[in-house]
Symmetry: C2
Subunit: 429 residues, 2 copies
């Protein structure tokens, strides 16, 4: 008996059949004696269809009106889901983001949650009803306008609501069984992780794992709220995203007392690389460059700068960013060329990023050597390297990515066909 927040994505409620299947699942959680709050996305492709409608009207819709338009999507799905539950003999009430007390900034299209005041949800729960809440949306604190949260918005709604309601768990339903040690489409014998820490999940999400969005994991970590990522098509246990791996945690059998080192391998083909060649090695130059990029709201990922050649006093700065933002960034940098005085800009969108993530990494030296050795044996050339305490990322050719992922997965003994868990003792990081 507890309070569960469940989140269902658009593919789970794409049609009436999906709605009914999800409704059964929700009712079953309620029958188990839980209080249930459900966060739901717009049905299937509804959001894309609404964006298409807006494009027929104007090339640059105002943010306020686009948010007003798009929030119709969750309104439709939540009302239908409430009907489907009522049809099963349980009371359900749907609430918009505003009604659920999701208070946000007024940045339309990418609003951030400021506060959640779920009085009406608590009232509905107290009266025995199941509460259905529109994901992805809120109301701005200043202007009382309808806002949307942008990418990963519905997951974030679910976690924020779960935190505000002091829920026991936030269940994120998706079309895969949980979080895997690598993308199962690339590594067919990837294993499903039983648990993953917030820190590991953040690194995995930032490194290209799409199952959970960065924002929602950040939110869960801040409130220490357990997330259970699982499939809406099976009743299998999924992956728990928690503060720490449980004592005796292991990835396999027989090593209950050992701590896992590597949780998984993520990859990302959505980035491009920009190299600024011949940058004068002066104080403030890098700051000037990245301020200009930041002012244009462009998210950059990895940054690498080598020591400058003593003879020339010049250095090269490389960074990666989403491919979609490449043209903008390039044009911003070109405008800076006169002021900063660098030699040239190189743009490369044929790169891939491969990341090794694991909390155990910090206490187990040698991980890097094994990683790089595996890549080398697979013929993958490393172009850039970036590390955090629990992650090593490399940039290589986009065409080498899948070969690299499989090689690393095998090197760290993550493949499911082996019964021993990972006990790694290397030769120094």
């Amino acid at each position: 008996m507890g309070l569960i927040v469940q989140k269902y994505g658009g593919s789970s409620v794409a049609d009436a059949e999906g709605m009914k299947r999800v409704a059964n699942r929700i009712v079953s959680a309620k029958r188990d004696g839980n209080q249930v709050v459900v966060v739901v996305s717009a049905m299937g492709d509804t959001t894309d269809e609404l964006i298409e409608l807006a494009k027929q009207i104007t090339p640059i819709p105002s943010g306020r009106e686009l948010d007003m338009l798009l929030t119709a999507g969750e309104r439709i799905s939540m009302a239908l889901l409430a009907m489907a539950i009522t049809n099963l003999g349980h009371e359900a009430r749907s609430f918009t983001g505003s009604q659920a007390g999701v208070i946000t900034t007024s940045a339309h299209g990418r609003a951030r949650i400021i506060d959640v005041t779920p009085g009406r949800i608590q009232e509905a729960l107290k009266e025995g009803a199941i509460a259905i809440v529109a994901g992805f949306q809120g109301i701005s604190q200043d202007t009382k306008d309808v806002t949307t949260l942008g990418r990963g918005g519905s997951d974030t709604t679910a976690v924020a609501l779960a935190a505000a309601l002091d829920a026991d768990v936030c269940e994120i339903y998706t079309d895969v069984d949980g979080v895997f040690s690598a993308d199962p489409r690339v590594v067919p014998n990837a294993r499903k992780l039983k648990t993953v820490t917030y820190d590991e999940m953040l690194e995995l999400a930032a490194s290209g794992a799409k199952v959970l969005h960065l924002r929602c994991v950040e939110y869960a970590r801040r409130y220490d709220l357990p997330i259970h990522v699982r499939s809406s098509f099976t009743t299998n246990e999924g992956t728990w995203v928690v503060k720490d791996h449980p004592v005796g945690h292991s990835l396999g059998k027989g090593t209950e007392m050992e701590q896992a080192i590597i949780s998984g391998i993520a990859h990302d083909k959505s980035e491009a690389k920009i190299t600024i060649v011949g940058v004068p090695d002066r104080t403030g130059v890098a700051a000037r460059i990245f301020q200009a990029i930041a002012d244009a709201d462009i998210n950059i990922d990895m940054i690498v700068q080598n020591v400058s050649a003593a003879a020339t006093g010049l250095t090269d700065i490389s960074f990666t960013l989403p491919k979609a933002e490449g043209p903008d960034a390039t044009s911003i940098l070109q405008k800076l060329q006169g002021e900063v005085g660098f030699a040239s800009i190189q743009y490369d969108d044929q790169i891939g990023k491969l990341s090794l993530v694991g909390a155990g990494m910090r206490s187990h030296p040698g991980v890097t050597a094994t990683f790089f050795g595996a890549l080398s044996n697979a013929g993958v050339n490393i172009e850039m390297i970036s590390t955090s305490e629990i992650r090593i990322s490399i940039i290589c050719r986009e065409s080498d990515i899948e070969r690299g992922v499989r090689a690393a997965h095998t090197a760290f003994e993550l493949d499911t066909d082996q019964n021993e868990a990972v006990i790694y003792a290397g030769t120094g990081l």
Copy 2:
């Protein structure tokens, strides 16, 4: 320079082209120096499509959730319309019923407006913006739930908002040029009325004229708010619905000092007739019957009861009601048969109603005789009669309706091919 409330129906904004056409029209009113508030319905068949979706989920959707679902329709159209206006270089802001301050009862699907507190609309107007408001919807005073106003809801929103804003006029845009002396599909030479009084319009609407809904006319009459019914496809003057015909009003040329008698002829094929045969002529019996009908929320229209035959002490009671409600009403009456003790129920859905409406009728006797004479000459048999001060309605065979409408239209000299206006002097009502 004034404050105009404009209302556009779903057929006017059925697609992107329609949106743009309507946006141009709105901007033109704004350019003329007016403050403009626009009430908009859901696009084309959106509402029907949403109802269809709900039916796929459950045969009996809850009222609260159905309202939540259906209000997505106006949300989409108002956001798109605001975008289309912004695209023309004018500021537009969309508002839900709740944001516009449309406070209603909590009767989902047929909520009534209790109050309108349009503070946000006034603020938008003050700041020079065009306000776009979702028709058909509001928020319940007690439960703060989203409600819909039922049939004619968007027209009612427009008039209610116009009254609350003390607007100069409420323009109702439709796909016809105004209110006609008869349905132009039945009477090709029906004339467009320049003005029609609230009372006449109420009788016309109640008698089957579909151009304006009863509720919205009632509301306009209460607040003495002029309605201008006009086409969204032309810039022609339409019909003004006002308190009194202007001095010198006439339907045609040359009779400026005369008052019109008959404004128009309405007909309605959507009703059925129920006759309860052999009802004991006792006090309270009719009350018992119609209370049972009212308890089931069935709207009845005409009621006729003849004096009872002295020999038997039995009478027949006939009434008309929407065909859709016929089965329910019949089954309710069957349950009453034992208690009330009538002989039988007759159900007839092959009837039509034909109504003659005109404020001048009360001061001009002989209208009835001319009306009945015209029907008789056209071979139309009268089955029931009901009158008000400014209306005479008859029930006849459904198949006789169109012939009857044309005959009456000609008898009262309403046809446009004649240049003289109606000056009728009959031989006594």
